[in-house]
């Protein structure tokens, strides 16, 4: 029996777990997949938006601005890659100029600090490589980029260190309530609690309706991306957005904290959690990106992927207690700017819980995380580390210069990786230009040994994604 069960371990669920773990209460997090951050959180632009975009007075505006303000310090505490690079909305026409003027005003109303309207010259000083015909831009100095899955993993790791029970591979199938106690049935087990925090992302309406009435609907919106080589990453200094128009929001061209360039997303309503990329959408993104930057070399693309944003039919975040189920708190419809808002949304869940009863802060709790990133260390630090543990002297991922020591580290972390991609999200191994062509096999063999599994149980990512089928000569011929 737990006090609180959080359903979903994306950025919202993980941040909620992190903040609540500082209080005297027992908490479990239920997650369908074999890792945290395996849904929307792992497939987005990685932007910490400044907050000029949401409508004033909306929950999006409130949590975006607050999340943006808290991001830097939080990422520092958690050793999460974060870079305050700033963002531009580039205007190409007179209408665009009007639009960015409106965005500027909206940003002021939302309480965004350090917003500036720039002319062409100032714009090009910040971002030399831009397509022709730039009229001006809206510069948001507080805009930042972050490693989205590291962010969620770090929050979850600290939560686990503070005693939160993380139950991976637990897909919620049914919820019942009797005498104030919820019973949650998953594909694995049954769990009981007094409060439910619904952070189930794309499935948050489904989860809510397992026990409550229909109060909102989640519309899955797929967005596709190009992730380009670091050669291209050098071309982009800050997040570049297109001026929103009737045609849509356009696509963004952004740097990533890993030094790559990311281009996307489009927005396409889909039936279910369909994560396929399509030739049409990729073509559209490529074309649309030329408006921002016409010198992107798509031959240097290293990966395409799609993410699903959980847009609600209310057009805003849904952060409220269910009207039909008492003690059931929905954190739903957290579409963009959800990554930015996520940390602030989780921070305020305690406010609601404390309207129910009085939870007090723990005497001792962890709020920081340490992580060794070998390539960021100084000459002397590197040698000190290798002297202590020679595994740091062996490179496994040669594109991203990730050492065996760092990979072994994550197996002794609070949430050990269960797949090759889980190692990638924790260490960057396999994220580079060869896309694990070289290190995939080495990581696979480490996984096999560390998890003590058979070769045909090694997973690339989610359940079922096995990478090896047979031993040589044991196939059907």
């Amino acid at each position: 029996m737990y006090d609180v069960i959080i359903i979903g371990a994306g950025i919202v669920g993980c941040s909620t777990a992190y903040w609540l773990s500082q209080y005297e209460m027992s908490i479990a997090v239920l997650e369908t997949h074999n890792d945290v951050a395996n849904g929307t959180t792992k497939a987005n632009t990685g932007c910490m938006h400044a907050g000029y975009d949401p409508q004033p007075g909306s929950l999006m505006a409130k949590y975006n601005v607050e999340g943006s303000a808290m991001g830097k310090q939080l990422c520092e505490k958690l050793a999460v890659p974060y870079e305050n690079c700033g963002s531009l909305v580039v205007a190409h026409t007179k209408e665009d100029m009007k639009t960015i003027e409106e965005l500027y005003q909206r940003g002021k109303q939302n309480g965004v600090k350090e917003l500036y309207l720039l002319d062409e010259k100032q714009t090009r000083e910040l971002q030399p490589r831009l397509s022709g015909n730039v009229k001006g831009s809206l510069y948001a100095k507080t805009g930042a980029i972050v490693d989205p899955w590291q962010f969620a993993i770090a929050l979850a790791e600290v939560a686990v260190e503070n005693g939160v029970a993380l139950k991976l591979n637990n897909e919620v199938k049914a919820i019942t309530k009797k005498e104030g106690i919820f019973t949650i049935t998953t594909n694995k087990d049954k769990y009981q609690c007094r409060y439910i925090i619904n952070a189930a992302g794309v499935y948050s309406d489904v989860v809510h309706e397992m026990i409550g009435e229909k109060e909102f609907t989640i519309i899955p919106v797929r967005g596709q991306y190009f992730l380009l080589d670091k050669n291209e990453g050098e071309k982009v200094q800050l997040m570049l957005f297109q001026s929103p128009s009737q045609k849509g929001k356009g696509v963004a061209v952004c740097p990533t904290v890993h030094g790559n360039m990311i281009v996307g997303p489009d927005a396409e309503t889909v039936e279910s959690e369909d994560l396929a990329t399509t030739a049409e959408a990729l073509k559209y993104i490529k074309e649309q990106s030329k408006l921002t930057m016409d010198c992107i070399n798509y031959r240097d693309n290293i990966r395409n992927f799609a993410g699903i944003r959980a847009r609600s039919d209310r057009g805003d975040f849904i952060i409220e207690e269910s009207k039909s189920v008492k003690n059931f708190y929905n954190l739903a419809g957290i579409a963009s700017p959800g990554l930015t808002a996520g940390c602030a949304i989780g921070y305020h869940v305690i406010d609601w819980l404390n309207t129910k009863e009085n939870f007090v802060k723990k005497q001792n709790y962890q709020e920081t995380r340490r992580k060794i990133r070998f390539k960021e260390l100084s000459f002397a630090e590197k040698n000190e580390l290798i002297a202590k543990n020679p595994a740091y002297g062996r490179i496994v991922c040669r594109c991203e210069h990730v050492t065996e020591g760092e990979i072994l580290d994550c197996f002794s972390s609070p949430i050990p990786p269960q797949s090759i991609d889980a190692v990638k999200r924790r260490t960057n191994a396999g994220m580079g230009r060869c896309q694990s062509g070289f290190c995939g096999e080495r990581v696979a063999m480490i996984l096999k040994e560390k998890l003590n599994i058979e070769f045909n149980e090694i997973l690339l990512d989610k359940e079922g994604s096995k990478i090896l089928m047979n031993k040589a000569k044991e196939g059907d011929y």
Binding site: A276, T403, L460
Partner: protein
Amino acid sequence: MYDLIVIGAGPAGLSAALTACEKGLKKILVIERDKEMGGILNQCIHNGFGLHLFKEELTGPEFAGRFIEKIKETDVEIMLDTMVMDLDENKNVYILNTRGYQKIAAKAIILAMGCRERTRGAIATPGDRGSGVYTAGAAQRYMNMNGYSVGSKVVILGSGDIGLIMARRMTLEGAKVLACVEINSYSSGLRRNIKQCLEDFDIPLYYSHTITDIKCTNNRVSKVIISRVDEKYNVIEGSEIEIPCDTVLLSIGLIPENELSKAAGIIIDERTKGPVVFENMETSVEGIFCCGNVVQVHDLADNVALEAKKAALAACKYVSEESSFERIIEVKANKPISYTVPQKIHLPIEEKLIDVSFRTNRVLGNCVIKVADSGGNVISRYKREYVIPGELEKIKVPVSLIRNEQNNITIFIEED
């Protein structure tokens, strides 16, 4: 301070180090990131190596073995399990291994890091993202070094040599290879590999086709859609063929490893993706030479070893003598020649012949390769029965003919 540091202990690095040693260079170090010498040859267990160099047919490991045995008898220092993290134009080499992170330096450097495979991203193949999509070389390593098969029903995209070789390997090890799909109307692999890796096992090769969608079930590949393309690679609608399978192997090209070349400030040729080189395999940074697939993707390991000899001789010369050249001329290429190696020539030089190698971007029948001086006068001709993109074409240009050239020479092809 070393006389020579060779980065990489594959066929290029080992051949270079051996040559330098034979030439009497004293302090030679070879740095290899793997736990053993041999490089990619260790996983190329098929035969077909050594016909030029040793006049007998060897497998990859046997070919590597010849060099490894020889080098073990020399004083060449071999540093295994060691990664070169950085390189600068002053020939400082930053290395990492279990003994620490350190800076070492040499009078001359030979880059021999080889190449890497292009991935799904490079061609932006759409579809689901489960497991079951591998570069052919990655699957080759799982199979030949670990003894594991990545799948049982396989479609190969691209007809590069590694893909063709893997078609045979997967078949011999118990998988069904259902198709090899090539976007061009010709293969980029060697003809004999099409013969003995596909035709021997009745594996269909679809020319002018590509994979247009990859579908997964339960996060593993379950089928691919292949479609016909026109000459401009546009997908022809209605030509789709659905092939249920569990594995896709990509054999869609190789790219020189150029991180260290770039780190040292070496000028890169956008066409080869490797360093711009002189006739002696020197890069734009004096004293840094390169050879093998780090320069251009070769068709045969034999040619890699020969190119490495040339780089090593030049490195030895660099260490012991002042350079004496007066000027530099450029080697230009006209379509359908995609590029040439070398891209530049020092003049004057002692050598009598300059090897120029190149690839074309299409198949040519009976044709004449011509070399013209900067005045447009054809100075030498080379007849060929055919020139195909899968094979590296080579000509030897007599130095006597370009002795007085001041600017450039141009290589072009005329079809009969």
